[in-house]
Structure formats: C-alpha cells, structure tokens
Chain length 243, copies 2
Amino acid sequence: MTTPLQAMWLEARDEGSVRERLYRVLRQSIIRMVLAPGQALSEKELADAFDVSRQPVREAFIRLSEAGLVEVRPQRGTYVVRISQQAVLEARFVREAIEVAVAREAATLGVAERTLEELRELIERQRRCSVSSDYDRFFQLDEAFHRALSLGVGHTAAWRVTEEVKAQLDRVRYLSIPDSTPIAKLTDQHSMIVEAIGRRDPEAASQAMSVHQREILQSLPELMRRFPEMFDGAPSAVAVGSK
Amino acid sequence: MTTPLQAMWLEARDEGSVRERLYRVLRQSIIRMVLAPGQALSEKELADAFDVSRQPVREAFIRLSEAGLVEVRPQRGTYVVRISQQAVLEARFVREAIEVAVAREAATLGVAERTLEELRELIERQRRCSVSSDYDRFFQLDEAFHRALSLGVGHTAAWRVTEEVKAQLDRVRYLSIPDSTPIAKLTDQHSMIVEAIGRRDPEAASQAMSVHQREILQSLPELMRRFPEMFDGAPSAVAVGSK
DNA sequence: ATTGCCATACTACCATACTAGTCTGTTCAG
DNA sequence: CTGAACAGACTAGTATGGTAGTATGGCAAT
C-alpha cells in the first residue's frame, strides 16, 4: 500500500507546505484509484510512511473530507469513500451548469486569439493521443482544455469549483479506462465547442458543451455492474428529493 | 472585538466539533461584517477568548481561507480579506450558472406539490418583511427560498456550492442594508420563478432566475464609492491589529 | 537628520503529548 | 456452550511546546 504512495510523495517534494503536498498526493491517489474506495487510511501509518507528524496528515484528511473524497469517522478511522451514483450525477449537473455558462459567455463576449490558439493546440495534441491510444495523457490534456477555457474568460473561481466537483467524476473516468473511452469523439466535441466560440455563436457553444458533458458518463451503469465493490451499494443516504 | 464574538460562540455551543463551531461562528461574523475586511485575526487571541486551544482555531482558519474569507499569510498573520470586486462578480457568475440550471430543471421535470407550497409560503412571509422593512429576516427567508428550491429538485451538492460562493455576495448585501435593498422587487422575482416552474415553463423559469441573480448586485458600484475601505482597491488603512 | 543594522516580538507551522471514545478479543458467569 | 462484560489496543480530537521566518522599532554610524 505505501510504496506507490511514497514514490508520489517524494516526487511532489518541492512545492508548498507539508499539508498541501499531502493533500495533492492523496487526492491524486484516490482519483487515480491507487487508493481503492472503502480503503482505510490511518493517520499514524501515513505519517510514518512519509516521515512527517500526524498533524499535517490530519489536516489533509479534513480537506479531503470536505472535497467528499474521504470520510472521517471520529474515534473510528478514515476511509476512502465509495463512489456514489448520486454524488456523481450531482457533480455532473454542477459541472455542466458552470461549463455551459462559461462556453456561452466565451462565445458572447469573445476570447483572446491567444486563448483560441491554445485550445486548438490542445485539441491537436489530443488527436495524437487518439492514434496512440495514450489514455493517461489524454486525461491530462482534457483537464488542460477545460481549464484553459475557464481561465481564458477570466473565471478562475468557476474553474476552482469545476476542479472540486470534477474529482468525483474523474474516479469514474479512470475506472472506464481504457475500453469505454471514445477519445476521438470527445476530441471532436472539444473542437465543436472551440469552433462555436470562434464564430461567436453562444447557442451552439453552450449546446456543444452540454452534449460533451453528458457524453462523459455514458458508461456509468456498465461500470456499476462490473465493479460493484467500488460503489456505494446501499446508501441510507439522501433522498431529500421528490418526484 | 471579542465580546460579540464570544456571545455567538456561547450560543453555538452544542453542535459539532470545536473546529466546526469555530468555523461557523467566524464565517457568520465575517459575512455579517462583525469582523471588518482587513481585520487581523490572531490564533492565540481567539483561542484565549473562546477558551480552546490554538489547534482548532488554526483548522478553522484553514477552512475559512479555502472559502476565500480570510487570508493566511505564513509567518505574518491571518486577515479577513477585503471584498474584491472581481471575486464578487465571479461568485455571481457561478451562482447564476448553477441556480439557472436548477430552475430550468425544476421547470422541466417538475417538483413536488409540497415543494411548491413551501416556496409560496416563503414568498408570502417575504412580503410581510416588505411591509415591516425587516431586512434581517428577509435575508434569512431569501436564503431559505433558494435552499428550498435546490434541495427540492434533489441537488444537495449544487446547494453546497451555492452556499460556498454566496458568502462573497452576502457581505455585499449586508453592506447595502437598508437603503438599496428592494425587498418587494426581489420578492416579486421569486414569485415569477415559482410561477414559471409551476406552469412547467423552463425558458421562463431560467430567464426569471437569471434576471433575479443580476438584480442582486445592482448597488455594487455605489457601495464601492461609499465604503472604499471595505474593498481591496482601498487606500492601505494598515494595522487594525495590535494596540 | 537619515540610513542601515540588529534585537525583539509575533506569526504560522509542525511535532509530540494527552484525552476520550470505539472496537475486539478474552474471560467468566450462566 | 453461549452470552455478556471487561481490559487492552486501536482510533481521532485537542492541547501544548518548539522551530523558523518576517515585520518592527530602536540604536548606532554616517
């Protein structure tokens, strides 16, 4: 358990406080399924493994629990939360709402030529991933694309929120590697978004983004069947709803 | 400085961990302008005032800094952030994106009769605030309205995000008490939203919500002129801290 | 009088110690 | 043999002490 984590820890050595580095390493580990849903995490074990004290580990846990990635049960332990279908669907909803608004605004107000170039460049690199089937690289470029778009219209806060909710979605996407990830299709959708923005067509841009956001989770039901132990089977949870 | 805070602290005594209670009290204090923008906060002072150790105070600070309400400057101190025009506008953007999507979905899928009743009830109580000019109560009911709508369509995550970004906006709204708060107008807009949802008209519902969200910050430029020291472009006004 | 330097005080940050609550395995009573 | 109760070993939460770094104010030198 500890060895791959320790490697990440040593890599991320240089930037930020101990708490911040721990948070990034653990977050990445959870998103990339290095730490499996349901896995118990121990303050003490991690502190020993990384040769730091328990306090920064604890603070990283708190932050992770706010991001909905772990559950801290007082006097019991800390656990990687299982993927919850409801949480995933809600995250998708929020992400779509924000990114559609960003795309619409980008097309309405226009964006710098520099930004358009950057986006097209990213799409080009994504196409290369398509031919080489480099899924890991594609995910990085995909994140870079959405990030560049949000920051390109100046909405850093919007991107921060997107990043936050995206964690829930990315775990599912990592599960779906490699079989059900239509890289070419997703790249084409990126291209449609950028083109619509380029010709200043807000309706087409927001529509294209909406379609794109709905594409991502097509494989969810299939994954729930294939990896039931990753999911939150019987949640007593929520059901605030109506309907 | 400490006395009104201590009162809030004693009131919030019963629920959650020390860290959680500290967070809520400080957050409310900042939003309601009990703690002024630029104000220096001291771990030690607060710990002494509330008779707890510095550690939970520190953890509350960390969380507040993630919410964008304080700035922790390592080896310097912790300060209530001044209101940033950009942060406010970005918060408004995110909130509008989410709430418009919520309103649209509510109108598309429909909501429980129970929820509609609750919303109409809240509007009725808001009207009573209008005649009595009870601004404080109106704000509470306004929050309850938006909360009831989001939870009514089952989007708890969406409400959590809204709540998060709303903090930035609420500080401005508290500043604008009482003169530039058109309670009647806002209440009418609430009513239009609910009616559109009731007759299952997604376009009208999202449009009404959009108009409503843009209404809220009409007074921002005026407020920036009247209270320059509250905003981050302000003349330095250093060192509220010691003495 | 002005400028540069140093002592001090204050900060955040991390480590360690301590408290309190929960789980588990063993033991003893029925 | 079964059940409950208790002891020990976990856990997280909180308190406290120590370290390192920055701002500040006074003092000396120019």
